[in-house]
């Protein structure tokens, strides 16, 4: 239950962090809040050769509004985002989904970027990003690129980050006045991992729901009927039910707006 030895680097600027990640390549693993990575290290499910600790890098934890987007720095703590008045106003869906991630103590340390990079197929945050059509921003010494959820989440626990790159930001379209939203999940208990989690955004034109727990990454649907091909019969039934309920709630809110 103790991690294997590793080299520890603690850059003090984003440039230094990107330099380290470029130099050390595949061996270097970014350490954000550590609420998923460190348990895996303690259990020796993973043995990074080099940890690049991002916790002393300034400027990566902003929560801002820019060009119709809620822009959140990768190192913003989940609990800070969840309680941010800006997030409550611009993306109540994300704030609601975040309240189901881990528990208050893990959210105090866990970050938005770390949650996304971990790419847990049952995680709540990716559903909020996928339902709203948000993008994840990767930076390297050569510049930045933006990926939508389909491009970012490649397989369970795997994302499209190349060696030398770092998740630096997520951009979530601001909820429009004519839109409604809803989030719901089914989990064995409040603090347990979700079996199925669903985020939805709706307007007069229809619903965009993102479902976690039925595939390697969030699956976007507009109707529960699209889920007939989910292999596991229990998850299929739960997902269809949740999409139905969450869509109805989102449409209700859109109509009331």
């Amino acid at each position: 239950m103790k991690p294997a030895p590793f080299d520890y680097e603690r850059p003090r600027s984003l440039d230094d962090a990107l330099q380290l990640l470029a130099e050390r390549g595949e061996d270097a693993i970014p350490l954000a809040g550590g609420q998923s990575l460190v348990p895996m290290m303690n259990l020796r499910l993973t043995r990074p050769a080099i940890l690049v600790d991002l916790n002393e890098v300034p400027g990566l934890d902003g929560i801002d509004e820019r060009d119709g987007m809620l822009v959140i720095g990768a190192m913003a703590r989940q609990r800070d985002v969840e309680r941010s008045p800006l997030c409550a106003r611009l993306s109540p869906l994300l704030a609601s989904a975040l309240r189901h991630v881990g528990n208050p103590q893990t959210r105090n340390r866990g970050t938005i970027g770390g949650n996304l990079a971990h790419a847990d197929p049952a995680s709540e945050v990716p559903t909020a990003v996928a339902a709203t059509g948000g993008v994840i921003v990767l930076a390297s010494r050569d510049g930045t690129r933006e990926l939508d959820c389909d491009a970012f989440f490649t397989r369970p626990y795997t994302n499209a980050r190349n060696p030398g790159e770092l998740v630096v930001e997520v951009r979530i379209p601001v909820l429009r006045r004519d839109q409604g939203w809803a989030f719901e999940e089914v989990a064995p208990s409040y603090a347990a991992q979700a079996i199925v989690a669903v985020s939805a955004v709706a307007d007069a034109g229809g619903v965009r729901a993102a479902v976690a727990g039925i595939a390697g990454s969030p699956r976007v649907v507009s109707h529960p009927g699209e889920l007939v091909d989910v292999e596991d019969p229990y998850r299929r039934a739960v997902a269809a039910d949740l999409v139905q309920r969450v869509s109805a709630r989102a449409l209700e809110r859109a109509a009331a707006a």
């Binding site: 460190v38 409040y190 603090a191």
Partner: protein
């Protein structure tokens, strides 16, 4: 690697291996055995400590990461000669049996107390969902949290 930090108000400087967990640093290097180690992968909450005033898992931090920061363990709650109000409430409500999980609950409550007043039971229980107790069935713990909230 050298770690310079403040633990319960005292300046500490130690040479540590980067892989040393904060929970082991507190217990083995500093002898502060109030912080308990249950699951060692972030689930049980027995190792909760305050890092710069916020409750976090000590088993999910490396000691080197608290360099330049302030840690408060269960030993640092309350004042000299006076228990923290969460500790007093635990005694008054008999909110423990074996006591293994208690330090983690107390640290969680030390941060959460100001927010707990007026919460419905379900919300209060959600606030405490990061701590596992295998003895009490939580009834007395919830009552103590209720009692300690301002």
């Amino acid at each position: 690697m050298i770690v310079r930090t403040t633990v319960n108000g005292f300046a500490v400087e130690e040479q540590v291996e980067p892989r040393l967990l904060l929970s082991d640093f507190l217990r083995h290097t500093l002898g502060l055995t109030g912080t308990h180690v249950g699951c060692e992968h972030g689930v049980c909450g027995a190792c909760n400590v305050l890092l710069d005033g916020r409750a976090v898992r000590a088993c999910l931090l490396f000691a080197v990461q608290v360099d330049g920061h302030a840690v408060t363990t269960v030993e640092g709650l309350g004042e000299e000669g006076a228990s923290h109000r969460a500790q007093t409430a635990f005694v008054e409500h008999g909110a423990l049996q074996c006591g293994f999980c208690t330090p983690g609950f107390l640290v969680s409550l030390a941060e959460l107390l100001p927010e707990l007043a007026g919460l419905e039971d379900s919300a209060l229980r959600e606030s405490l969902s990061g701590n596992i107790c295998r003895c009490t069935g939580y009834q007395a713990i919830v009552a103590a949290a209720r009692g300690a909230a301002p």
